[in-house]
């Protein structure tokens, strides 16, 4: 018997009770199942313009003709799309009165991650006395952005306030029918983020989904659209190191980034969704399409991801290097423990001349998990003098897990240069013993060694994010050796 969305819901319902949240399923929710009427209803409920409904419908019709791909090195029960509820208004969480009411397990995790008390309260919807402070922080934040002409808001707000911008770029990087899950997302996406950086503007702060007001939990079908106009720069943070327990089993998000001439976007993700229990029951399916278009001369995009959560992860943040001299980067640490499965990597498509890309992927597998790197480097005929360097390392903890590398390389001209390096190693008993002999406990030794292994990628993250990610790696691998 498969573990269905309903089972997970039930599991989490029990937990929600533990946390003291009220589950209010009665309000604003449509029946489960998917058909054209549901797509229309979603659009209607959100008061969307006609063109957006058309976008959804054409995506849906295309999706119907597609088949769920099964080439990834992961095993899972295919979702029953008729069992999913595609629209429900955000559930109001019950306000807790103090942190004492938060699930102790989550609380321990927060403490280990060193998340501030105020932040913990915020994440759990606890009324904070010092709320004036956090509101003012957020307001100052919005003001600063506004002055620079930066637009950063929820996707649905943007559809209402900046319809022509959204219309111009939606689907321009990831077309509605791009792949099975992107098509599904295009048809039924609920909300997400929209960000526009005007010409020549350097965004003065890291834009974090966490700061966005009205962000009441991530949606199941999230849609993110970032447009960096000519000569602009932005660093965007997605996710949070804190454990996230979502009632949705299937997550099919789409992130599109349009990078214009001489603009640069840095996109960092820390993903720590529910990975299922130690027996591999439950957990989130994370099937995401992320792609950036380096549209002009010297456009640059850099993806950095630290993936520790989800039962099944299936994603390949990609760069289409269309502009001459454009650059794409991908830095990844993917950790799988217990029964987790990840098939992740990147795609670098070189179209423009003198384009450059780099892929640094660090896989860490523990328990009985399966961790695969899959990547495509494609250099087209006209992309002369292009370069790619890929390095894919795998680290194994224990002897029951798997690490796999599937590199695909297609080069169609003679002036380009592509390098691929790969290593697989086991965390050494001798390394652990060496640390222990110096007085470092086994657990700390593993954390040191793993963080050292992932250093190159962690260094790419914004400072405070990196510190949290480091702790997260240690916590994820706790008890994996020995």
């Amino acid at each position: 018997m498969g573990y269905t969305e309903a089972d997970l819901e039930k599991d989490l319902e029990g937990k929600e009770y533990e946390y003291g949240f009220v589950s209010d399923f009665e309000s604003d929710r449509i029946d489960k199942g998917l058909n054209e009427d549901v797509v229309r209803l979603i659009s209607n409920k959100r008061e969307e313009p006609e063109w957006l409904l058309e976008f959804r419908l054409s995506a849906y019709r295309h999706w119907l003709t597609m088949e769920e791909p099964d080439w990834a090195h992961v095993k899972y029960e295919k979702p029953n799309f008729q069992e999913i509820v595609y629209y429900s208004a955000p559930k109001p969480k019950k306000k807790l009165n103090s942190l004492d009411e938060v699930d102790p397990e989550l609380k321990t995790m927060y403490d280990k991650l060193g998340i501030s008390v105020e932040e913990q309260m915020r994440m759990n919807g606890i009324a904070i006395d010092v709320i004036v402070d956090s509101v003012s922080v957020a307001t100052t934040f919005k003001d600063t952005l506004l002055k620079k002409g930066i637009i950063f808001m929820s996707f649905s707000e943007a559809v209402k306030e900046y319809p022509e911008l959204v219309r111009e770029y939606l689907g321009s990087v990831v077309p509605a029918g791009d792949n099975y899950y992107a098509a599904l997302n295009s048809a039924v996406f609920t909300d997400g983020s929209f960000c526009y950086i005007p010409k020549g503007v350097r965004c003065p702060m890291e834009l974090s989904t966490y700061f966005r007001i009205n962000d009441s939990g991530t949606g199941q079908f999230e849609r993110t659209l970032i447009v960096a106009d000519e000569g602009s720069y932005v660093s965007y943070l997605e996710g949070c190191t804190a454990p996230s327990r979502d009632e949705n089993q299937l997550h099919a998000a789409v992130v599109e980034i349009m990078v214009k001439k001489e603009a640069e976007v840095k996109y960092s993700t820390v993903q720590n969704w529910y990975p299922g229990d130690a027996q591999g029951k439950g957990g989130v399916y994370n099937f995401v399409t992320k792609r950036a278009m380096c549209d002009g001369y010297k456009s640059k995009v850099s993806w950095t991801q630290v993936e520790t959560g989800s039962a099944v992860t299936w994603k390949y943040p990609s760069c289409v290097l269309k502009g001459d001299y454009s650059e794409g980067e991908f830095y990844s640490v993917a950790v799988t423990a217990n029964h987790q499965m990840a098939d992740t990597g990147s795609k670098m498509v070189h179209i423009g001349k003198n384009t450059k890309s780099i892929i640094i992927s660090k896989g860490i597998s523990a328990g009985v998990s399966e961790n695969s790197y899959r990547g495509l480097v494609q250099v087209n005929k006209n992309a002369i003098n292009s370069r790619n360097f890929s390095q894919c390392d795998s680290l194994l903890l224990g002897d029951k897990c798997g690490a796999h590398t599937f590199p695909y390389i297609e080069v169609k001209n003679r002036s380009s240069q592509v390098e691929h390096e790969a290593t697989t190693s086991k965390i050494g008993e001798d390394q652990i013993f060496y640390c222990q002999q110096r007085g470092i406990s086994e657990e700390k030794a593993i954390s040191l060694i793993v963080n050292g292994y992932a250093r190159e990628v962690l260094n790419q993250l914004p400072m405070e994010f990196a510190a949290e990610a480091q702790k997260l790696l240690a916590i994820t691998l706790e008890g994996s050796v020995g």
Binding site: D430, C435, Q437, R438, G439, I440, L448, Y453, R455
Partner: protein
């Protein structure tokens, strides 16, 4: 009255069913330097591993009393915190972990074991600087990963540096001299001699008499087939160098 710092009694140990230590006895007092010599495969490195707690080896009999405690019951990190140090014959590389971070974790873990607060960053860096100078590694460690890309000589000097940082009561040098040129050998020996006090002790495992010209032992032991077969003053090392080990084989049983 001299106080024993470590006392090893009737120690038997094996690896994968293969008996290596066969009733090893040794007592070392505070302030003493002992040397162990002997042919390859007689169990010298095994002894070092067993004392420091490498679980590849199984102790089947005997005890190791260190500072009044039977340390065979402690984990390797606890033994280290108690004051046992092993300078590895083959120091291990840990890519991506800087020497600074590594030593900070080590020093502070040991402090924590003794109920002390972590060392302040400033004091720690000062200590790092001071101890690097001792083995002439100034500025060469801080930002590099532990032993990664180090020459053989640098690795051995790094071991002595770490020893200086942790200031152990008892240190085992497992063939620290192997692969060192004469200059590096002098640096290592000088480091050890500087650290040597009336309160701490050393066990020097070596094949060559030349190290003992620089680190003068109080006793030289000859190990053969898993136990000590002969003990003498430092001159014994010279005798061994001249005659080799064959003449000793008759003395066992």
């Amino acid at each position: 009255m001299s106080t024993p710092i470590i006392s090893i009694k009737n120690l038997h140990a094996e690896v994968a069913g293969h008996k290596i230590l066969k009733g090893f006895n040794l007592e070392i007092n505070e302030g003493e330097i002992h040397a162990i010599m002997g042919p390859n495969g007689t169990g010298k490195s095994t002894l070092a591993s067993v004392i420091s707690g490498n679980d590849e080896y199984e102790v089947t009999e005997g005890e190791v009393i260190f500072n009044g405690k039977n340390i065979l019951e402690l984990s390797p990190d606890e033994r280290a915190a108690e004051g046992v140090f092993l300078a590895f014959q083959y120091p291990v590389e840990i890519p991506g972990v800087s020497n600074t971070n590594f030593m900070k974790a080590a020093v502070n873990n040991i402090r924590e074991y003794h109920g002390k607060d972590p060392l302040k960053a400033k004091d720690f860096l000062k200590l790092m600087k001071e101890k690097q100078a001792l083995v002439e590694l100034e500025g060469r460690l801080t930002n590099r990963s532990v032993n990664e890309g180090f020459s053989g000589g640098e690795k051995k000097r790094n071991e002595i540096f770490q020893m200086a940082m942790l200031d152990p009561k008892f240190a085992i040098l497992d063939e620290t001299d192997s692969g060192l040129d004469i200059d590096a050998l002098k640096i290592v020996a000088n480091g050890v001699n500087t650290l040597h006090t009336k309160e701490n002790s050393f066990l020097v495992i070596t094949h060559y008499q030349r190290l003992l010209d620089h680190i003068i032992p109080d006793f030289v032991h000859v190990m053969y087939d898993g136990k000590i077969v002969r003990t003498g003053p430092k001159e014994l090392a010279l005798e061994l160098e001249e005659k080799g080990y064959d003449w000793l084989k008759g003395e066992t049983v």
